[in-house]
């Protein structure tokens, strides 16, 4: 049993929000090496760009409300979906949960005072910022906002007249930031665990981050070099992907997806970790199948690295290769399903307390399952040919990325809010916002699923009359969704200062971060705890307090 007397009550070090170190005021934040403050820096910057990208999505839906050119023209629409993709993928979802909650929570969960490389941690935030600034310059400066889509497919990306080079550099630097976070987390988990914190006593959130960190390290450099090659094509007239110079554009797609498919698991694994931490807390029951969940994270990381070809079923790769990629794609569904079954089994016979974090998590499971099933459909060769480049694919990955990772992030925000600020949000509003978002989300994306199945192509700024009704429904859905989002953010934002104060452990969590004061003191622990039990043993924690 860890020692609560020293780890928690009676410890009066300043909390990290009020701590005055070498630098005061704003510099105390901009030059901080405290993992908690860096987590918050990431949170504010990531949420800001998220809202910008939501705004872009709103404009795109508005254009589809009517037929013909109304709000924006075709070229602007191309730039809008490119920007929406670059921001959401490279700046929001990939760093999202690891950079915010991985930074803030993970070191506390393993019983450490900080990550292993605190200064590299801050550097990774500045890399993120530099990437974001470059992307902004790419939009407004020079020859026009990039119009390639977030995938930068060659040869179009090496020939279009827009500001692609800057956007590529932005993505490269954001990738570098992601690599730094990954190698920091792997080192931290290996070297900084408190005494007694064995691998199978780690909370599952840490397992999710650990698997993610490995993919970040192993996959990101490949996309980095691929993007740099396109830069070389544009700046130095190299022709590695240019058929006119002997190159092969299909190789670009291979190299791009070798990273970018594993990257979708960079996006989802931390979210699954969040859910695996939240569900036991609100069922007051240890997780069902701890090892199965931990190993399935690794299984997803490994099998997910071998399926990139399923993005290229219609690109002209051989039929045999298509069949192999299709088969491995189905395999990914197995570890994903193992997780879902384990989460549901954890709830079985638990004493369920339906607080907002749990409801957000259940919404995650529901939306992620739709995303998962449509993912298997996309992996079937003949179905894929039919739905390729339609709204079906768009809706599928929004179910996984937004319904999955996005809602996991929201669940994490509600779950760890009292930990970060020592206060609680208005629970009723959190419930109402969730209900509104749920309705809006399905109105928008389920309509897109059916529309795509009927043949509505993606990335068109206009549509045929037979899709008009569906487009109107989807656009209204986007308004509902955004209303719910804004309500949720307003509720959280307001509660940072005005929320009701709560104790150190309002949810009765069993993992280490709940055993120290909220907000955490600057050094996290007065004394590094000794851990002698598994992460979700609620009886022991209750007996200890």
């Amino acid at each position: 049993m860890l020692n609560h007397a020293v780890a928690g009550a009676g410890y009066v070090d300043e909390n990290y929000l009020e701590y005055q170190g070498k630098h005061k005021g704003i510099l105390g934040w901009l030059l901080t090496t405290d993992h908690k403050r860096i987590g918050l820096l990431y949170m504010w910057s990531i949420l800001s760009v998220f809202l910008v990208a939501v705004g872009i999505g709103f404009v795109m839906r508005l254009e589809q409300l009517t037929m013909g050119e109304t709000v924006v023209d075709a070229q602007t629409y191309n730039s809008l979906f490119t920007l929406h993709g670059i921001i959401m993928v490279f700046m929001f979802i990939i760093p999202g949960i690891p950079a915010v909650f991985g930074n803030f929570i993970m070191p506390i969960q393993i019983g450490a005072r900080d990550v292993y490389f605190p200064r590299i941690n801050l550097l990774s935030w500045y890399c993120w910022l530099a990437g974001a600034v470059l992307a902004v310059i790419a939009v407004f400066a020079g020859s026009g906002s990039p119009d390639t889509g977030w995938t930068f497919y060659a040869p179009f990306s090496s020939r279009t007249g827009t500001n692609v080079v800057l956007a590529l550099f932005a993505a490269f630097i954001l990738g570098f930031s992601s690599i730094l976070t990954g190698l920091n987390f792997v080192t931290t988990v290996h070297r900084m665990r408190a005494p007694g914190m064995t691998w199978f006593r780690l909370p599952l959130f840490v397992w999710g981050l650990y698997a993610t960190a490995w993919i970040q390290i192993l996959a990101t450099p490949i996309v980095g070099i691929t993007l740099l090659m396109v830069v070389a094509e544009r700046v130095f007239n190299v022709g590695i992907f240019d058929a006119a110079k002997g190159g092969d554009p299909i190789l670009y797609q291979h190299l791009f997806w070798i990273y970018s498919h594993p990257a979708v698991y960079i996006m989802i694994l931390p979210g699954m970790g969040v859910i695996s931490d939240i569900i036991p807390t609100f069922a007051k029951r240890t997780i069902f199948g701890y090892k199965a969940i931990a190993y399935s994270s690794l299984a997803i990381a490994i099998s997910g690295s071998l399926v990139w070809g399923h993005h290229m079923f219609v690109s002209g790769q051989s039929y045999l290769v298509g069949v192999i990629f299709s088969a491995i794609t189905f395999l990914v569904a197995i570890p994903s399903a193992i997780k879902v079954f384990n989460w549901v089994a954890t709830l079985y016979k638990g004493s369920i307390d339906p607080q907002p974090p749990l409801l957000y998590s259940l919404t995650f499971i529901f939306l992620f399952m739709i995303g998962g099933f449509t993912g298997v459909m996309n992996g079937v060769l003949n179905v894929n040919v039919h739905v390729h480049d339609t709204y079906f694919v768009v809706a599928h990955f929004h179910y996984v990325m937004f319904g999955g990772t996005g809602f996991a992030l929201f669940a994490a925000m509600h779950y760890w809010f009292p930990k970060m600020f020592g206060r609680i949000f208005n629970k009723k509003i959190a419930h109402i916002a969730l209900a509104i978002m749920f309705v809006g989300f399905n109105m928008l994306y389920f309509t897109m699923l059916t529309m795509g199945y009927q043949g509505m192509p993606r990335r068109y700024y206009d549509h045929l009359p037979q899709f008009h009704t569906s487009h109107v429904v989807a656009t209204v859905g986007s308004w509902v969704l955004i209303a719910g989002l804004l309500l949720m953010f307003w509720n959280l934002f307001r509660s940072i200062k005005k929320g009701e104060k709560v104790g150190d452990n309002p949810w009765g969590g069993a993992t280490l971060e709940w055993q120290i004061p909220s907000p955490p003191p600057h050094e996290n622990f007065e004394k590094i705890p000794y851990v002698d039990h598994e992460p979700y043993e609620f009886q022991k924690v209750e007996a200890g307090t």
Partner: protein, 210 residues
Amino acid sequence: MNNTMEVVESHHTDEGAKLGMWLFLFTELLLFGGMFILYSIYRAKHSQEFFLAASELNTFIGTFNTLVLLTSSLTVALSIEAYRRAHKKAAIWLLIATILMGLTFMVNKYIEWTAKIHHGIYPGSAELLSMSDGEMLFFNLYYVMTGLHGLHVVIGVGVLSFMLYFISKKPPEGEKFDKSAAIKLENSGLYWHLVDIIWIFLFPLFYLIS
């Protein structure tokens, strides 16, 4: 509180810093790995033309540069060992030798590239565009891969120069060596070995296949 500090310090061993460095080296290997994949695919497709194009490269300069880089890997390893044994002066001279060899490599690279460019062989040139697909790919890959490698040599020289400045400010010869400086020097050495090992693969793939 004393007790606590001990726990923290036992966490922060050299092992962690080295682990982080090795992970970073993995990412570098994968960065070049992407290009080696491209190389192998294109060479499999156009093996005859690759052999033809490779005969244009100057094997003498290539071999000389390989020797220079291999020797510099030796001197940097000796420098680390010398610093660990508190022979600061030796460590500094060995480091200077390493840096000079890195610069020699770059000068040779410059001579080699300018000669090629003089003959009109560079990406996008009329001369190159008139060649076969395989030859074009060979020279494009040659410029991109040795160019990126050259960039790493320059960065490596920068890192080693910083280390030179860093350890020259540490306590004088004979005294107990600075542990954090030693680990920094060792990590810089690891980076230099990486630069070396990538060249070990680039050299035969571009110069020796003809």
